[in-house]
Amino acid sequence: MANQSNKKFPKEMFEKAHYDESLSEKIEKPSLSFWQDAWLRVKKNKAAIVSMVILTLLLIMALIGPYLSGHPTGQNVSHANLPPKIEAVSDISWLPFDGTLTNRNGETLTPYEDRQIEESYWFGTDSLGRDLFTRLWEGVRISLLIAFLATAIDMVIGVSYGAISGYFGGRVDNIMQRIIEILSGIPNLVIVILLILILEPGILSITLALAITGWVTMARVVRGQVLKLKNQEFALASKTLGATDFRIIYKHLMPNLVGVIIINTMFTIPSAIFFEAFLSFIGLGLQPPDASLGTLIEEGFKVILLYPYMLIVPAVVISLLMITFNLLADGLRDAFDPKMRD
C-alpha cells in the first residue's frame, strides 16, 4: 500500500508549504466593542426589536401626542362622555371607532348625532368633556417621567451603595449588608404607602417613595459584581500603580458594571410604572387635574359599565408599555450577559 501511494505521488509533486509565524495570531473577524457585540445579539431577538420600535413610538407619542388631536386640553361639558370616533375608519364595523355606544339594554346610542357635534374625538371624551387622546398622552408622559426619575435615583443610590459595600468589604460591608437585609424585610408596599400618606400625593412624593424602596436590588447586584471584580488583576495592577479607591471604582470597575446596571434599570422602569398606576388606583396617586396612566384607569374603572372605552384605552396603553419594556429588558439581559440567559 505504502509503495503504491509512493508511486502515484512522486516526491517532486510536493512543495514545501510556506508558514509565516507572524500570521498565526492574525484576527480574521473585525474586533467588536462591548456595545457592538451586544447590539449584534439584540438584533437577533425579534421580540426585543419589535418592542423597541413600539416603545419608541410610544415615547414619541408621549412627547407630541397631546398636540396632535387639535382639541384644547380644557373642559368642555357640552362634549362630555363622547365615545371614540375616527372619521377615516368609522365605516369599518369591527373597529370601535364609529362614534356609537351600546348601553346596558343593548340599544345603540349615537351621541354625536344626538347632540349635533361636528368634531370627532379619536379616543372619546371623559365626564368633563376633556379629549381623552390628549389626556392619554399627557398621562403617559407623566407616568414615564415618574418612572424614569425614580429609576435614575435608584440607580445612583444603588450603584454607589453596592460599590462601596462590595469594594471596601470587611466591617463596612458587614454593616451595610445587615442594613439591606432589614430593609428588604420590609414590604415595599408598606413604605410607599406610608411615605405617600406623609408627603401628600404628587409627582415628587411618588417618585421619592418609589426611589427609596427600589434601590436595594441594584445595590445587591452591583455589590456581587464588585466583589468578583475587585480582586482581578487589572484592579490589582491599578492599585499597585497608586490609584486611589475612588479612581479604581470609577475608572476600572464601573465600565465592567455597565451591563448589569443597564439590565437592572430596564427591569426597574416597568415596575415603577406599575407602582405609580397601583398607587393611583388605590387613591394615593396624582390629584386632578393632573393625569397619569393610573389615574386614567381609576377614572375609567368608575364608569366601566357606561363608558368602557374610558378604561380600555389607558388599560391597553399601560399593558403595551409594560410588555414592551419587559421584552426589551429580557432581550438586553440576554445580549449583555449570555450567562444570565433563561
Partner: protein, 309 residues
C-alpha cells in the same frame, strides 16, 4: 441548622420591631390630629377625646404604650368603625383574603408549572411560544388592569360569572384568576428554564437510554428535580398576592383585608392602617423564613449557614 434558625428568628423579630417603630413614627409625622377634621368639637371636647386615646402624652410615652400593647396583641381601636378594636376588624376580614390568596397561590403555581413543563418538553414549537407569551403578558399586565378587564368582559358582557361581592364559592372564581395571573407567569418562566436544564443532564440521558418513554422521563425523573428551585419563588409570589389583593378585592368588592386597607387609607383611619401594615409585614417576613427553611429541607445540597458566608 438550629443555630441558623435561631439567628434568622432573631433577625425576624428585629425587623418586625423596626417596622412597627417606623410605622408608628411615620404615622405621627402626618400633620393634624384624627379629630381635627371633626369641626363640631369644641377645644375642650377635643382635649378630652385626645386624653381618652392617650394622644396628649409625650411621644416617647405614646410609643412605649403602643409597643406594649402590640406585644400583647392589642392594635388599638379603629376611628371609622366607632371604636371597634383593630384586631376584631382584621379577624373579621381575614377569611375572604385567605381563601383568595390560597386559591390563587395553588391554582397559579400548579397551572404555571404545567405551562412551563409543556413549554420545555415541546421546546421551540408553537406550544412553547404560547406558554412563553402567556408568561410575558401575565408578568407585564398589572393585576388591577387585568381584573377590571376580566370583570367587564367575563362578568358584565358575557354574564358567565358573578360581577362582584362575596356570596359563595362562584364569587371567588374571577378574583382568584385575576390574582393568579402573576404566579402563573412567574412559575411558568422559572419552570421552563429549570426543566430545560434538567432535561439535558446525564441521568435523564441515561433514563432515555434504558428505554423509559418520554412521558415517564419527564414526569418521574425530571419534574422532581426541576421543582426544587421553584420553591424559591414562592416567597416573592406570596408578597405579590398581598399587593394584588388590595386592588383585586377593591375591584370585586370582596370584604377582605385588602379592601379594608384601601378604605382605611382613603379615610385616614390610622390604627387600622398601622395594624394591617404590621400584619402584612409579619406575614411577609414569616413567609420568607419558611421558604428558606423549606428549601434547605427539600434540597440537602444547600447548606444553611448563619450570616457569614
Amino acid at each position: 441548622m438550629g443555630k441558623y434558625l435561631l439567628q434568622r428568628i432573631l433577625f425576624m423579630l428585629l425587623t418586625l420591631f423596626i417596622i412597627i417603630s417606623l410605622t408608628f413614627f411615620l404615622m405621627k409625622l402626618i400633620p393634624g390630629s384624627p379629630f381635627a377634621a371633626a369641626a363640631k368639637l369644641t377645644e375642650s371636647q377635643r382635649a378630652i377625646m385626645e386624653a381618652k386615646y392617650g394622644l396628649d402624652q409625650p411621644l416617647p410615652v405614646q410609643y412605649f404604650r403602643y409597643m406594649a400593647n402590640v406585644i400583647q396583641g392589642d392594635l388599638g381601636v379603629s376611628f371609622q368603625f366607632s371604636n371597634t378594636p383593630v384586631t376584631d376588624l382584621i379577624a373579621g376580614r381575614i377569611g375572604p383574603s385567605a381563601v383568595l390568596g390560597l386559591q390563587a397561590m395553588i391554582f397559579g403555581t400548579i397551572f404555571g408549572i404545567f405551562l412551563g413543563v409543556i413549554g420545555a418538553l415541546r421546546q421551540n414549537t408553537w406550544i412553547d411560544t404560547g406558554s412563553t407569551l402567556v408568561a410575558v403578558v401575565g408578568k407585564s399586565i398589572p393585576s388591577f388592569v387585568f381584573a377590571a378587564l376580566l370583570q367587564y368582559f367575563i362578568a358584565v358582557k358575557l354574564g358567565w360569572l358573578p360581577v362582584a361581592f362575596w356570596r359563595g364559592w362562584e364569587y371567588s372564581i374571577l378574583p382568584t384568576i385575576a390574582l393568579s395571573i402573576f404566579p402563573i407567569s412567574i412559575a411558568a418562566r422559572f419552570m421552563r428554564t429549570e426543566m430545560i436544564e434538567v432535561l439535558s443532564s446525564d441521568y435523564i440521558v441515561l433514563a432515555r437510554a434504558k428505554g423509559a418513554n418520554s412521558f415517564e422521563v419527564a414526569f418521574k425523573h425530571a419534574l422532581r428535580n426541576a421543582l426544587i428551585p421553584v420553591v424559591t419563588v414562592l416567597g416573592p409570589l406570596a408578597v405579590s398576592l398581598m399587593t394584588g389583593s388590595l386592588v383585586v378585592e377593591k375591584i370585586f368588592a370582596v370584604p377582605g383585608l385588602g379592601e379594608q386597607f384601601v378604605t382605611s387609607i382613603n379615610v385616614l383611619d390610622y390604627p387600622v392602617i398601622m395594624g394591617t401594615t404590621i400584619l402584612f409585614a409579619a406575614l411577609f417576613i414569616f413567609v420568607v423564613l419558611v421558604v428558606d427553611v423549606l428549601y434547605s429541607i427539600i434540597d440537602p445540597r444547600i447548606r444553611l449557614s448563619g450570616g457569614e458566608n
